[in-house]
Amino acid sequence: MSQTQPAPGAPAPLVEMRGIEKHFGGVVAVNGVSLDLMPGEVVGVLGHNGAGKSCLMRILSGAMAPSHGEIRIGGEVVEMGSPQDARAHGVETIYQTLALADHLDAPANLFLGRELKTRFGNLDDKRMLAEARKVLATLNPNFTNLKDPVSSLSGGQRQVIAIARAIYFDVKILIMDEPTAALGPSETAMVADLIRKLRAQGIGIFLVSHDMHDVFDLCDRVVVMNKGKLVGAHPIDEVHKDDILSLIIKGELPTDWRPRNLEAAQ
């Protein structure tokens, strides 16, 4: 905890990513990105398609090994060698691809890799079903076909399973890679409520999204990636939608930009 002592009184960052790079042959998907996440903070991660958002998030969730850079969690340098490592550090991820096993049902997917067992070590399908029913109901009360293979579920239902899987377990850092892409308005609102609730519990959240409205509604801070580089990081009240769009498209702020909250104060 000694090297990066924050200002006295300020809480220590949950996550510190330093100089993260990811190369695929000649393609540089993530280029020297440094990024922090505070407890109870929601950071919006934006950028054009292929900007490197998912790669950066996958590196933090242990799904992808970085070419360079280091990750600290609670001040300690950690090796995210596998998704299990990340989970052990309290990092839970809702992947953009959802990462569901199509032939298994919702409870089996929810508990995949962390199955509940009876005292004889058998799968406790009954308890997994009951728990799944409970947590899925908080996100979508109409979720009833829990025993169907998830391949036969709708895109929104599948997304709800992926979200439920991330929040069911003990989460400290939540990565949400476009979690509402397939959701209807009421489910999206539920996810927004969920994000606020988790933030109030002191959980740090990375929210990857293309939805400007969601980002301004939910995030405390917004960072923008452009061609693998981090081109901007601003508290949400410092920027307007046009500023963000400019960062996403051109990789820079409008030439006449000044922090909007200062502007308003004048």
Binding site: S61, H103, L112, G121, L123, R127
Partner: protein, 342 residues
């Protein structure tokens, strides 16, 4: 958490296929089997005789043991082309041990270990060297067959003693009565050991696939390997286990077969891998991974066993048999797809 213990009726329902699609497949496969049995019984009165039933049981037990291992590998999205050769290598190793003076039971265990080692090697090549299962197990198919032939100089090892033949020829509850004329009369032929072994292995495998975490991981790996990995499933370990079990079961099948012949035959089991694959596929396993089950494979093994035997009794040549079984495999998968497309 008061309800951790299962009600008995719940435990049963878990042993049955979980959704209607697999249930439909199971019923249609069973129906096919029943029709085959009835047709062959009409065609040849000897078909339903006790002796012939025993023969079918014995033939099916070898296909069934191979098929169970194959099913686990196929569910992970792989294939094991080496089981026929591994069967031969394991049986030969056991035979050589027995010939060298090792007691039968430890010798057979060593033979099974030989099979497991071959399977472990398959798993290693697939997971660590990242070679596709088809190619990896094709290599093992040649390696194991070559090793079996080399070890024995391609000559069968015979005169392995009565104890070696017990597994393949013995039966539980066999009742034999000495007749006044000095000839033994079989009152009850008993349940052949290979059939008992098959039932035990099938129950254990089914339990493993349905009720244990490793089984769930086998399905998840075949269903979506990347998703399984991201969910924290140790995908490589899961595959290693599946291939090792397939190799070990090929070893068991090899011992059953060679014990039945009381001879270790290094050239035995050629093309058995295809029967095992056919049994799994007729039983509803998908070569795309994620789908399959032991009960289905058992029915598939019996369909093949009954077909082979019935056609034999009807005097149909082995060439025609191959043609028939080929069409049955295609037909079974086609019907399955028709149902899925609806």
């Amino acid at each position: 958490m008061a309800n951790i213990s299962q009600p008995s009726q719940g435990a049963w329902s878990r042993l049955l296929p979980s959704n209607s699609a697999t249930a439909f497949h199971r019923v249609s496969a069973l129906l096919t089997l029943a029709i085959l049995v009835i047709a062959f019984a009409f065609a040849s009165p000897a078909f339903l005789s006790v002796n012939n039933t025993l023969t079918i049981l014995l033939q099916t037990s070898v296909i069934g043991l191979l098929g169970i291992g194959m099913t686990m590998v196929i569910i992970t999205g792989g294939i094991d082309l080496s089981v026929g050769s591994v069967l031969a290598l394991s049986g030969t190793v056991t035979g050589m041990m027995v010939k060298a003076g090792v007691p039968v039971v430890p010798a057979m265990m060593l033979g099974v270990c030989m099979g497991a080692a071959c399977g472990l090697f398959n798993g290693f090549v697939v997971t660590k060297m990242k070679i596709t299962p088809f190619v990896a197990t094709l290599g093992m198919m040649l390696i194991a067959r070559g090793a079996a032939l080399q070890l024995t100089g391609a000559a069968p090892i015979s005169q392995l003693g009565e104890a070696f033949g017990v597994l393949g020829n013995g039966a539980l509850f066999r009742v034999v009565e000495m007749q006044p004329n000095g000839f033994p009369k079989v009152i009850f032929p008993g349940i052949p050991y290979p059939a008992i072994l098959l039932v035990i292995v099938a129950i254990v495998a089914s339990y493993m696939l349905r009720r244990r975490a490793i089984g769930r991981h086998i399905y998840a790996t075949g269903s979506n390997e990347e998703a399984a990995r991201l969910s924290g499933v140790l995908v490589d370990r899961t595959k290693l286990i599946a291939y090792t079990l397939s190799g070990a079961l090929a070893g068991v099948a090899g011992n059953v077969l060679m014990s039945r012949l009381i001879t270790a035959q290094p050239s035995e089991g050629v093309m058995y891998e295809l029967d095992a694959i056919a049994a799994a596929v007729i039983g509803g396993a998908s070569l795309m991974g994620g789908v399959g089950g032991i009960s289905g494979t058992m029915i598939g093994a019996f369909i093949i066993g009954v077909l082979r035997n019935g056609l034999n009794m009807g005097g149909v040549s082995s060439f025609i048999q191959q043609i028939v079984i080929g069409f049955v495999v295609i037909g079974a998968v086609y019907i399955d797809q028709l149902r899925n497309r609806r």
